[in-house]
């Protein structure tokens, strides 16, 4: 058991240090993705014709393997965390943009008309009506993006040990210590489950106005890549129910 947490010194981090690093490399891109997706989605809502090409573009970007991204980026950003995080941020758009667009579009016509009729201008309408009502859809998108990002960080080990917990996989190989690989996979999975649970809690806190018993917001899971499936996905419904 002690060998389980006895990490090789070339990692330059304790187990907790790796966890912190992993979370940072996974979550900052999602946050950046969210900040980018909000205005992009708003443009897509405003100009309907923009949505299909934007959707196509995010899908194409998502289809680029991370390795190819690294090859291009490494010339500019070197073997750094940034090289790992940029592709992750770009990937998150494929989930977040449609989630926000669907969320904002789900606001009933009469609600919007009522807001207009009461003298809310476009900015107030967006901030006070559309965005709050889109919160469940946005968080559903964030859940998929976050879990997928946490699992994808590991590939960063390919560019000079920038994969946080993923670096353990490399070391398991080099030092013939399979328990390090087990450590990597389990820790990543637990992080994904916890992050997902935190988002579920956040949604419950932000949406006291939603009927609690009937209908949960549709998850945008279809948009997720098959290879991002983690144990967290199976645990999600149970966790959500536990949080109720």
């Amino acid at each position: 058991m002690n060998r389980f947490f006895d990490l090789p010194s070339d990692l330059q981090h304790s187990w907790f240090g790796l966890i912190g690093l992993h979370l940072r490399e996974a979550l900052l891109p999602v946050l950046a993705g969210l900040l980018a997706a909000l205005p992009i989605a708003q443009l897509c809502v405003r100009f309907r014709w923009l949505y299909p090409p934007v959707l196509g573009l995010t899908t194409v970007l998502y289809a680029i393997p991370s390795l190819a991204f690294f090859v291009v980026l490494i010339d500019y950003t070197g073997q750094t965390e940034l090289t790992v995080m940029i592709p992750l941020a770009v990937y998150s758009l494929v989930v977040l943009v449609p989630a926000i667009v669907d969320g904002v579009r789900s606001v009933p016509q009469e609600t919007l008309a009522a807001a207009t009729a009461m003298g809310l201008g476009p900015v107030r309408r967006y901030l006070q009506v559309q965005l709050p009502i889109a919160v469940p859809a946005i968080i559903a998108g964030l859940r998929v993006a976050t879990v997928s990002s946490i699992s994808l960080v590991s590939v960063g080990m390919l560019i000079g040990n920038q994969g946080a917990l993923g670096n353990l996989l490399n070391d398991a190989n080099i030092y013939h210590r399979p328990e390090l690989a087990v450590n990597s996979v389990l820790t990543t999975a637990v992080l994904a489950i916890l992050a997902d649970g935190a988002l579920v809690l956040l949604r419950l806190l932000l949406t006291p106005w939603m009927p609690r018993r009937t209908g949960r917001p549709a998850r945008v899971a279809e948009a997720a890549r098959p290879d991002t499936a983690t144990p967290a996905d199976a645990a999600v419904p149970a966790l959500e129910d536990a949080a109720r």
């Binding site: 009469e110 008309a113 009729a117 003298g119 809310l120 709050p132 106005w209």
Partner: protein
């Protein structure tokens, strides 16, 4: 006063929703826009608060073009009630109602106090204040919609089919409530509906629109019923407009008789005296004078009247307050063909036969025609 001055709305796709419409909407009264689906009612209403801009013509509010004000200032000075309430699902009932006061810069406490006051005014239990819209019934949501529109005390209220999504019983309650509130507040209300009965019940003036956004007739409801301008309006009013028109004639002039009325403790002499009036039935009342039911004189035994064996008294009408329509309804529904009139306390003030109601209707029509001639 709101003046709609030769307004036309042509949507970008070429649809003419409103065609050279002119209307003068009087202050402090309810003006109803009614017509079949797609005839331009919503478009007209939304041109008043500039959610839709007219293609031609102008809308004047107290003499000034509505386009002279900043659009959001204009909108905040007009309450708007929308079909299905259109509540903000993410805000509590209290905060929904406080929306416009907050936009106008009231502080939170004052806005909420005002919202609480309005909840009471529209008949909402204060226990609902902290709830969210999904926790309310359709009728309650509509009340919140009305309260929200009234929150900043705007002089003008625009209502677009506000009661169409609720069942008939709740709708009647909401209509009565609106009339009561209007009696207290005296707003200038423009009310859109496709239900002609609602238009006739609520409207001081009723504008009937036909498909294509043309005005078919603009008149008070009684005039609409008595003198529809053309076959379209006549058809739109429906088959029984003659009966419905009776709602506008008072029952005050009906001649009642109390001869065939006896109370439950009547003596044999009293029963015999009542029977001598010659009517086929006698009305029995309780000791307080409230109607119990009808009976043939021969069936009544003094001192042993069995209320359970009496024929139902039907639905009594209150003379003076109810219309001739209620009196006729009472007579038609009564098993004996006689309507029972009561006073404000529910005591029988007399009975009246179908024939006598018919006589009163003829007299009222004749008087109405003379009035029309004098007025014309």
């Amino acid at each position: 006063m709101i003046r709609i001055d030769s307004v036309t709305k042509r949507y970008p796709d070429g649809t003419v929703a409103v065609d050279r419409l002119s209307l003068e909407i009087p202050d402090r009264s309810i003006t109803v826009l009614v017509g079949p689906s797609g005839c331009g009612k919503t478009t007209t209403l939304r041109m008043i608060n500039r959610m839709v801009e007219p293609t031609e013509g102008a809308i004047l509010l107290d003499g000034a073009d509505v386009r002279q004000q900043p659009v959001n200032t204009l909108r905040r000075s007009m309450g708007y009630v929308i079909q299905n309430a259109g509540l903000f699902q993410h805000r509590t009932i209290l905060d929904n109602i406080a929306t416009v006061p907050r936009l106008l810069g009231w502080d939170k406490r004052r806005a909420r106090a005002r919202a609480a006051e309005l909840m009471e005014r529209v008949g909402l239990d204060s226990a609902l204040a902290k709830r969210y819209p999904y926790q309310l019934s359709g009728g309650q949501q509509q009340r919140v919609g009305v309260a929200r529109a009234l929150a900043a005390d705007p002089p003008v209220l625009l209502m677009d089919e506000p009661f169409s999504a609720v069942d008939p019983v709740v709708r009647k309650g909401l209509q009565d409530e609106l009339l009561r509130i209007q009696g207290e507040l005296g707003k200038t209300i423009v009310f859109v509906t496709h239900d002609i009965d609602e238009a006739i019940k609520l409207g001081t003036m009723v504008a009937v629109l036909r498909t294509g956004g043309r005005l078919a007739q603009y008149a008070p409801p009684a005039e609409l019923l008595s003198a529809p301008a053309d076959p379209f309006v006549e058809d739109f009013l429906g088959a029984d407009r003659g009966i419905r028109r009776l709602s506008f004639f008072t029952s005050a002039g009906l001649e009642l008789t109390s001869e065939p009325v006896v109370d439950v403790d009547a003596t044999a002499e009293q029963i015999a005296a009542a029977a001598a009036a010659g009517t086929p039935y006698l009305l029995v009342t309780d000791r307080d004078g409230r109607p119990l039911g009808w009976s043939e004189p021969g069936e009544l035994t003094a001192g042993a009247v069995d209320p359970d064996r009496l024929l139902s008294p039907g639905r009594p009408f209150e003379q003076g307050r109810d219309s001739l329509r209620a009196a006729l309804d009472g007579a038609v529904l009564s098993p004996t063909g006689w309507a029972v009139a009561v006073d404000g306390t529910g005591k029988v003030s007399g009975v009246v036969s179908q024939a006598a109601v018919g006589e009163a209707i003829r007299a009222a029509h004749a008087e109405d025609r003379t009035d029309a001639k004098v007025a014309g």
